[in-house]
Symmetry: C2
Subunit: 451 residues, 2 copies
């Protein structure tokens, strides 16, 4: 993309309404614009990152054998009355009346709807196990929406639901989700620590939240510092293997790591003192096993091997897709702007032309642009007639991990400059070497299969 043809309305001034870094930086970098309280338009660069995150989530869910579908944003109130949650949900549920006066609502979650789909179509234990998921806009009518996309009213979320014949099978589904979530967050360049959590209104004994450590996190967290050394890495996993998935769960959840809701001072004190940590965390996902709670309430039963109707064991599992943009920025920025991890960056590489209008510099930039594109990468070429200082400031603000700077002086020596946004370090390379280097850096991230 050439910046002269893009829509990237960066702001010079820091918007006064933004209290935290991610909100401030998303506004300043022209990624979002509030359209009404807690509701945002995703401007082109914000939308691009949202799609990158969504693509990773889809990719890892499909890899785990979970099946994508899509439920609507608006739901009839009837199913919620049947499950008993219509009255429980309070004012955070946006209730709507259509032209015929029917009670509708903007779905805050989808346990009822998915269970209805299940009970309409699945009759036999032979059709299990089954895990369905979708990524869809949801609405939660917060009293005081704030922190930008971190606590918006209209938000984008992946929610998945497993249906299993037995508790053992459902716990395997739980473990599969844990593994696929660890992989997803790592691909986004995030460390998200699974922590024992509280069931809350969804209920359930088995539940873990995934938290990203950040000063602005809404939860206080307590953990054994050993958990921050864990990483899934590029190991292979067979999602059909109960042992392998259970092994990952144990590896990642045995050490102490809890939010304030489930914190147990005595257990925490068993952690050697030098490894005890207290910090703040941002919740970016949660997994639940809640047994037969919804299947009993909504009559989701299958004919079991014994021929008898058997309520299925369910769980629900969520990733906050739109919220993740905020979490990633909270975890990865400096005073100049955002620092995107390679896995989610909106463009792979910036190109800064130090002397726009100079024939040689323009030609070199155009060649770099073509070569990066031919390598399957997406560069953002700042081809505006602006001072170098302004171009660097924009690149630092929007946070592309790599920048190639092209100027007449370097070109005389046959080199351009490749700079890391994270470290600020630069190396001089021939244009061909620079393209090769950038392509190598991104090779591990070009793995999504799409639809």
């Amino acid at each position: 993309m050439r910046l002269s043809r893009y829509f990237l309305p960066v702001l010079k001034e820091t918007p006064s309404e933004a209290q935290i870094a991610s909100h401030r930086l998303m506004l300043r970098a022209g990624m979002i614009k509030q359209s009404s309280a807690g509701i945002y338009s995703w401007l082109p660069m914000g939308f691009k990152v949202l799609k990158k995150i969504e693509t990773i989530v889809h990719d890892e869910q499909m890899r785990a054998g979970h099946i994508p579908m899509l439920m609507p944003t608006l739901q009839s109130a009837d199913l919620w009355k049947e499950s008993g949650r219509y009255d429980d949900y309070g004012k955070e549920m946006l209730r709507i009346s259509d032209r015929h006066g029917r009670d509708m609502l903007y779905g805050p979650t989808n346990e009822e709807l998915i269970t209805d789909i299940f009970r309409s179509h699945v009759n036999s234990y032979k059709d299990l196990p089954l895990t369905l998921y979708h990524i869809q806009w949801k609405f939660r009518d917060e009293v005081r929406p704030r922190f930008g996309v971190m606590r918006g009213r209209e938000f984008y979320m992946k929610d998945g639901y497993n249906f299993d014949l037995t508790k053992e099978d459902a716990l395997h589904a739980y473990n599969r989700h844990l593994v696929s979530y660890l992989r997803s967050y790592e691909r986004m360049g995030l460390q998200a620590i699974p922590m024992r959590a509280d069931g809350g209104p969804i209920g359930g004994d088995y539940t873990h939240e995934f938290l990203v450590l950040a000063e602005t996190g809404e939860s206080e967290v307590f953990y054994d510092s050993d958990v921050t050394d864990l990483s899934f890495g590029d190991r292979e996993i067979d999602y059909d293997s109960v042992e392998q998935c259970q092994g990952v769960l144990e590896e990642f959840t045995t050490k102490y790591a809890r939010t304030d809701e489930t914190h147990d001072e005595a257990a925490f004190n068993d952690v050697p003192e030098e490894r005890r940590r207290t910090a703040r965390g941002i919740e970016v996902g949660q997994i639940f096993y809640f047994g037969t709670k919804y299947s009993e309430a909504l009559g989701a039963k299958v004919q079991g091997p014994n021929g008898k109707p058997t309520p299925v064991h369910m769980g629900s599992h969520g990733i906050g897709v739109s919220r993740l943009l905020g979490a990633i920025i909270e975890a990865s920025h400096d005073d100049k702007g955002i620092i995107w991890p390679e896995g989610v960056t909106p463009f792979h590489c910036g190109i800064v032309n130090l002397k726009q209008g100079d024939d040689e510099a323009d030609a070199a930039c155009n060649q770099l642009y073509a070569a990066l594109t031919a390598a399957g990468l997406e560069p953002l070429y700042d081809d505006r007639k602006e001072r170098a200082g302004g171009k660097f400031a924009t690149m630092d603000l929007i946070g592309l991990p790599w920048r190639i700077t092209v100027g007449p002086r370097g070109l005389k020596n046959g080199v351009v400059e490749l700079t890391s946004r994270r470290t600020g370090e630069s190396v001089e390379l021939s244009p061909e070497e620079a393209v090769k280097k950038v392509a190598e850096i991104y090779a591990p991230h070009m793995t999504s299969r799409g639809f």
Copy 2:
């Protein structure tokens, strides 16, 4: 995908509520499930086709230089009061009151919101031309929703908006949209004829609707049969070239083709009698140039070259993404089921194992599955223990364009059978040749670049 692990709830019986073929077939093929009047859940196979269509639309819009973004589903009523359309829109607009009693609505279209984004961020003619678009769920509270996704209440639509300094520039944007729409529909295997249309509530003198000819179409259409011979084909186009885009417009819109709304009997009679056709059509898109109507009403002005504030020339351009599934099926089915065009088929190729459980047949199917996957294709392998007749009926119903049938008798001779869903014709080939043939067929369709 192995069918034993998929969620494809095909129905044996024809649902009584479905009046037209596409609605009936989408229900029978387990693609959608109504959750409330005019609101559908997209079951896995329906969702997959929806994504294929969405991907083509994104791909062709980006190719035309239009910039993707995303506006929210819910909007504040304020902007609509400012434009004067809040009262005009009537009961089809779903009006919502949030917990603080603020007037909101579920967006039926986005002229107001995009114009607000534009006026907040763009100040100079130097930032033009600019075309922004998004694909988002919209809501239209129809009195009598019917025909499945063809006339649902919650529907998925691409809408794009161009902002230009002059009428000439805006008409070039109009032409770019026409070209990109022709390309999009052709990639979906559809012939959609641009017809002179009526501005309706959006207004505008220049507007064309794109219609797919089908008996169940909601519009009566009148056209010169020569228009059905036109095709964009695989010609190259330079979207920056005013002449090229204008040339395509003239080629595709000079011959008589109008809906009943704009039909002109006298002009129609100038068409040689043997080429005059009357038929029915399904509207799958519409493009508008409406001048400065919204920019004046909402104060979207830029500083012109003369230094004076100048209202921008705008147009809006829509493709009915969810509706297209219905339109494609209406245009392409037979009495056994759907016949997907290659460009949008949910799976590229079916594999039918005639003797599930037979070691040799199972091994051959597994090898085919692996080879097709390695070739970048997505097969659907019916690995259920069911009679061959049932497997064929399911494949015919769900309409994958190509099927490979594997049985012990063929394997003895080293062959499998490759069958075209459209013609019913079969050829015997070695498994390797069958994979090669299918890969060749799909090569022209594997062109989307994604995000």
